[in-house]
Amino acid sequence: MKYIRIVSVALFIIIGLILLYILNIILLPEWVTNEGATLSTRGIYEEEKNSLDVVFVGSSNIYNGISPLEIWEETGIPSYSYGSPEQKIWLSYYAIKEVLAYQKPKIIMLDVNEAFSNDYLEEDNIRKLLDNMKFGKAKLEAINDKMLNYDSELSYIFPIIRYHTRWNSLTKKDFQRLFLDYKSTYKGYVLSKQVTPFEGNTNYLEYTEKTDQIQEVSKKYLDKIVELCQEKGTELILIDMPSPHSWTYPRHKAISDYAESKEVEFLELNCVDEIGIDWSKDTPDGGWHLNVNGASKVSKYIAKYLQENYNLTDYRENPNYSEWNNDLEKYLKDKEN
């Protein structure tokens, strides 16, 4: 008799959790699951475990600016752009942790542009990463981090607590979400063809004697990231995506010095002639991000850099990666049209 009771209670709880899980999905807002960022943060789970050799981590500059399929086209190196809007360094720490839970990349490239700003992150930008993260060690740690100081921890474990009021505005899309396929055909990259020229100073990396400091909290988490990558045997490369609005020589110098002190590579992507960014054609929004033209240039440059400096495998003939070739076809078609 007692066993029946225990079993029925357990069953009740399990069914309840399943229902909760389903309701969680239905009540998520569109902006969490259907925007550029979330295609990036959700799609990574659809990749085969341990199939990525390089992962790019950072803010919207990453998923707007690096197109892994371009790298694939040039070198057959499988990579992924894993980013969320305005991702501060502390959040990147957890993003990297999560990546390392599902993948064993040889290289992680981290965009350090946000290392100089304050640490206030809007709730929705946090949620665009965390609400799309699977439940696991990285997520739990992120939720309990002091940097996350709005809303209860519980609302990050059960987002339904945050979004339950959406019952009043449900649409068909919310129910279709139950059957959505989150595979990111472009490997986290969000393709944009818009053009809005940047009309400021394009020579923004001119030498000056001024200096800049990496923000204190960002430095703390940068150290943690360095340690983490060392621990897991992944090479960390710091990069800075072309950002004419915020990058300066002092900042370049600060990162450069930091990288040296930590014996870590720093790949500067700003004002690099070889990349050849044309600010009148390569940005969709006046210099804040790159469009497909800019992304293509940056990606090809990174592909060359990887080929020249690292011994990474070319998987183009590998049957396990045949899907990648199909994806590349789709990408190229989309790019042309």
Partner: protein, 530 residues
């Protein structure tokens, strides 16, 4: 720690586990300790006041017992005359002891809760006499449940005084009686005879009780979080800016407030009773479908029942059966020999006045609440005085008082009177209550309402739908219970599919439709601020 929160559920779960693993002999200690921890988490060092109350009623009751025992020994083998003298002496001593208990405990309550009220009134008087002294107002934080446990403690002392129960030598039992955490926030106010032993005895936590109690807790959460807090949105909007509204909107707000305070208070009581039930303890009912009352008197036998009972036992009876009052009774009856009804009524009204004054004042430290009590006193007085007139009218119009129609008329009439009472209760003060009442009859904004102004008060169409549906659900549940249909029992009898569906619907409707989270502001229990 709010009672309608996950934290509270977790707390209860921990206490349940602790209770199960504690050996029988010490199970009551687990309850007492958890209660003190709960109190500390809510009121920190203010727990000292509850401890003072506990000690005072414990020691003073023992003293009463001693006086009685001594009297027994002293009057042995004494003459009738001397016996009477000794009895009188003992009685005086006992009265003194009770007075001390009253002074200590009502004193604490009076200062903490009513200081600003009293000082404010004294200041007004001083101003009238152009005296420049002003008593400053103080900021006292109310210890949790002080209005409830004070009454509960005093009922113990008075019951000992009246020799209805023996004084308890067990300090732990007395402490637990006062501190038991489910009832400390908003009652129900328990009686020592019924409650103390039950709390103290070890109980086996039965699976059936966990199921049944949890269902009651679930219902309470539903009432509070889906119904009460949702209604509050509209109510707060209208009452917060009442000069902007009139007519139907005011009526709607008052109506909603009546339901809100019911769902809020009854919901809390249900959570509390459900938790107690899990521990195998039955707490007194505090609500019995009050809106089915056919008279205002009946309403107060169905609403906040334990408060009404307390006031009857310890205010009404204390006044009505005190020596001086019985003298008055006899004198009055002689004078009004021919008017039995009148004399009976007047005799009832005097203690009744004290009851309603106390009821009003207990609810809050302001003239508005006293007015609230007096409102009901006046209605009842008029009702009682005019009883023969009503009877004649009914006979004249040949109305059948047993017909359904008449009963519905009575319920409707009572409901309207109750709503006006709730208006007084909710309004900021007496004058705004009157303003709102007047604006109720102003229907000039009818056009606006047709244009959807009702949906601009904080609740849109979807929210309104939930309001209506959830109110209907509550009405059905209450109606079934009124017809003696035991809802939880009947649910328990159904098959697994139906039972589990009801459980899941209940749980998820609270999760989905509950008013909580960043998009709403949290609201504490209304009656918890007393």
């Amino acid at each position: 720690m709010e009672i309608n929160s996950l934290k509270f559920i977790l707390f209860v779960a921990v206490v349940i586990i602790a209770y199960i693993i504690t050996p029988k002999k010490y199970k009551w200690v687990t309850l007492l300790l958890s209660s003190y921890i709960f109190y500390w988490l809510n009121s920190n060092q203010l727990i000292i006041f509850m401890l003072i109350t506990t000690l005072s009623i414990y020691l003073l009751s023992l003293l009463l017992g001693k006086i009685d025992k001594r009297l027994e020994l002293e009057i042995k083998d004494k003459e009738k005359e001397e016996k009477k003298k000794l009895k009188e002496k003992a009685k005086t001593k006992k009265k003194l002891v009770v007075l001390i208990a009253l002074i200590i405990n009502l004193g604490i309550l009076g200062v903490i809760k009513y200081f600003n009220f009293f000082s404010g009134n004294i200041n007004t008087l001083l101003n009238l006499f152009n005296l420049n002294i002003q008593i400053p107002s103080m900021q006292f934080i109310l210890p949790l449940g002080i209005s409830y446990y004070t009454l509960q403690g005093l009922s113990y002392v008075i019951d000992v005084y009246r020799q209805k129960i023996d004084p308890d030598k067990n300090l732990g039992r007395v402490a637990l009686f006062l501190a038991f955490f489910p009832q400390i926030v908003e009652g129900p106010i328990g009686r020592y005879k019924e409650l103390a032993t039950k709390l103290y005895e070890p109980h086996k936590i039965e699976f059936q009780n966990i199921k049944s109690g949890s269902l009651l807790v679930l219902w309470g959460f539903f009432q509070k979080m889906v119904i009460a807090d949702r209604l509050a949105i509209l109510v707060d909007t209208v009452f917060g800016n009442y000069t902007q509204y009139s007519g139907l909107i005011i009526i709607c707000a008052i109506l909603f407030y009546t339901f809100q305070i019911y769902a809020d208070f009854a919901g809390c009581i249900n959570i509390v009773r459900g938790v107690a039930e899990i521990f195998g303890i039955t707490l007194a009912e505090n609500f019995k479908r009050p809106f089915f009352s056919k008279s205002v008197q009946e309403f107060w036998r169905r609403w906040n029942i334990t408060l009404g009972t307390w006031l009857k036992e310890y205010v009404f009876y204390s006044v009505a059966f005190s020596k001086w009052y019985l003298h008055l009774t006899t004198k009055l009856k002689e004078k009004l020999k021919k008017h039995a009804h009148l004399s009976k009524t007047i005799l009832a009204l005097c203690p009744l006045f004290f009851v309603w004054f106390s009821n009003g004042l207990w609810h809050g430290a302001s003239w508005k609440y006293i007015f609230y009590g007096m409102y009901y006193f006046v209605i009842m007085s008029i009702g009682m005085l005019l009883e023969p007139v009503f009877k004649k009218t009914i006979n004249f119009l040949k109305i059948n008082i047993n017909s359904k129609k008449y009963k519905i008329w009575q319920m409707l009439r009572t409901f309207i009177l109750v709503n006006i009472g709730m208006l007084i209760f909710r309004a900021t003060n007496i004058s705004s209550a009157f303003t709102i009442l007047k604006s109720m009859f102003n229907f000039s904004n009818f056009g606006e309402i047709l244009n959807g102004k009702m949906l601009s008060l904080g609740l849109d169409k979807g929210e309104f739908t939930i309001v209506i549906i959830s109110l209907i659900i509550m009405l059905i549940v209450d109606f079934l219970q009124e017809k003696n249909y035991h809802v939880r029992e009947e649910i328990g009898k159904r098959n697994v599919l139906i039972r589990w569906t009801i459980y899941y619907v209940g749980i998820f409707s609270i999760i989905i439709f509950g008013i909580y989270g960043k998009d709403y502001n949290p609201s504490s229990f209304i009656y918890g601020q007393f």
